[in-house]
Amino acid sequence: MEVDLQAVRRVFEDVLNGCMLREQADRWAHAVVQQEETGVVTYAPPRERERIWAGVMYLYGIDMMTAPNAYLHTNDDIRRGMTASIGVIGDEVPNDNSTVS
């Protein structure tokens, strides 16, 4: 399994654009973490491993909730998390709605 920075960025942006559920983003990250545990993940390019992993670990658990149907994170949180982890700023996305649709 190969993971690159663009793939991680795409997941962030899909979540922020409403094209991907947070639960799906969490499952994607979970799959990467599981694969990493078995040692079959490669990072492209290898020098970006740290940023890629930071992005994956942000996405893992991104669907945490404070109550049923209420996410812990706002879209602004996620936008900041994306910038802090993978260091890129995504395209413009709609303003936040942190409740489950």
Partner: protein, 154 residues
Amino acid sequence: MTIDDLRSNMDAASLGVSHSLGATTEPSAFAAAVVPLRQIPPTHPNHPLSPERLRQIDRVFFGPFFREKYGAGGDRALENSRIRYYSPVQPTSNAGELAGRRYVHEFDTATGLTRGWHETLDRMGNVRQIRPERLDGTKRHYQFDGNGRYKGSW
């Protein structure tokens, strides 16, 4: 019931327990690189390891496996031969008294088993919610009050 009671009672299988790479008994298809090990003082037999000692051993032998991946937010050696690695707290601006969430990865140095869960923290640093995951992907949130007393789950 407290947070630690709940963690202790959780069925290992429900938390996605897996054998760590370092503890596998499968023969490797590749020759292992020879890496000189750092010397650490010997341990007396039948003497329980102190958290400090456990941490020292962990740093020498296991650190690269877990700390780099899961311990960017710190680590803590427990009395029961387990070490917990904490991701950085991912802040929230949406949840009142809650400060954010982090992932916790626990390694049992006695068995080689690992497990992990997500937890949310309040602004005082108390764990207010933990979310383990079953092998079938089922997630459940367990909530606690500011004193660590179990409030309920959903």
